[in-house]
Amino acid sequence: MKLALLVLTLLPCVAASAAYPSIAFGGLPEAIVGGDPGGTSFALAVSDGTWRASITRSLARRLDVTATATAGDLFDLTARVLVVKDLLPLHVAVDIGLDRVSLLATLLLGPVHVDYGRTWGATDARFGYVQYAPSQTVTILIGLDTSDDRCRAIVGVRVHPARTRRWGASLVVVDGALRFAIGGTRR
């Protein structure tokens, strides 16, 4: 049943046009939405023998829906609503999932993004990262994630070999575990 729901959700997404953003930091959330209704982004992450695939569809300028499949759960759905947009330098978004709610804030400071947020529900977590894009092809990330009363360091790098940021690959180290992801935007 879950597999059927996943396929039904994914099929219309595959027939999509452009999308932004092309996020490939292995599922780390940001208060950013596609902003281009009809656009679709894809991401596939692997870590410690598990995998996570997601497709994000922009349904409206402030609303994205993401379908996610993981090794343990073949269907998960999240809606991201951008509550505050371009209160420069601030964006605030709310993620509403099947078993959790997240509040996300992103400060857009040119080549630097400062992200912080909190998740309530199946896993309670607080997180914050700083992303810096020194060039067109590279973004580096450093941050902290606290969940289950543990504080974990996050370090990551994302590259865009095609010299536009519509596609990319990232490597994130979370508490010593490697997470590799590829993803981008289909046009």
Binding site: L109, A133, T185
Partner: protein
Amino acid sequence: MRTRRAAIFLIIVALAALAAVGRPLAILYTNDLHVRLDRLSSLREKIERERAADTPVLLVDAGDAWQDFRTPLAAVWGADRMVDWMNGVGYDAMALGNHEMYWGADRLAELAARASFPILCANLVPTPGISSPFVASAVRVVDGLRVLLVGLITGEHLPYPDFPWLRRVASVAALRGTLDAQTEAVDLVVVVGHLPTAEATAIARAVDSIDVFVSGHSHEETPEPIRAGETLIVQAGAFGRYLGRLVLDVKPDDVSLVSNDLIPTTKAPADVDRGLVQLTAVVLTLLATALVVLL
């Protein structure tokens, strides 16, 4: 017979004299205004004074006019007022600066649509099929002189993540491509580049058909233009402290410098009440989200 020869000789001399007479042009330039609203009335007065004089005027800005993180108020407010002011004083073109891009793609598109002048950038190329709020070049006709204006932007501090559909190409290649694509003859080539004078010098040495390079980003003052081959490179400091005025004598195959001045401006109080409301909203929202996350 002698009368006829004398007439032909006189005509030739007159034509040669006409060809040798240049046409004056004053290029007024600003850069890195960074929403300094308190300088705008003084700048307007200086610009209007120059327009009232006999010399035809071309007015350009080399970018970073609409945003500034260094002053919290300017970071959240004032871009609309800056665009309206620039429309009012009649800018001919503006280079895209990295700070303009800090507004994000949607807001930048709104501001560019509000501007009555083109926003120029030749070395950020959008993915095919994506509409961009800026163009590589524009031709302005000033008192019969056809001026090609080309925009460039530095690679420093660009908000790459917010514009994933843009590809940055090398300035020299972008400039050469734009000049090659220009099929109609022009009298003057002016590059309006949001990049430092050192970078402008290197570009001018590589591309020899640039007459004037109005630069920015590095907040340098050039009381005397920097010469790179035949190119004159200028910059007017920052924050609207000066209005740059470069007066040229434009002949068919020669452009010569008449004068270059950095005209000082003065400050005057600016009404920022609406901006303070917006700044308060940003601070309160930041605090609210921080509290929700931390508590």
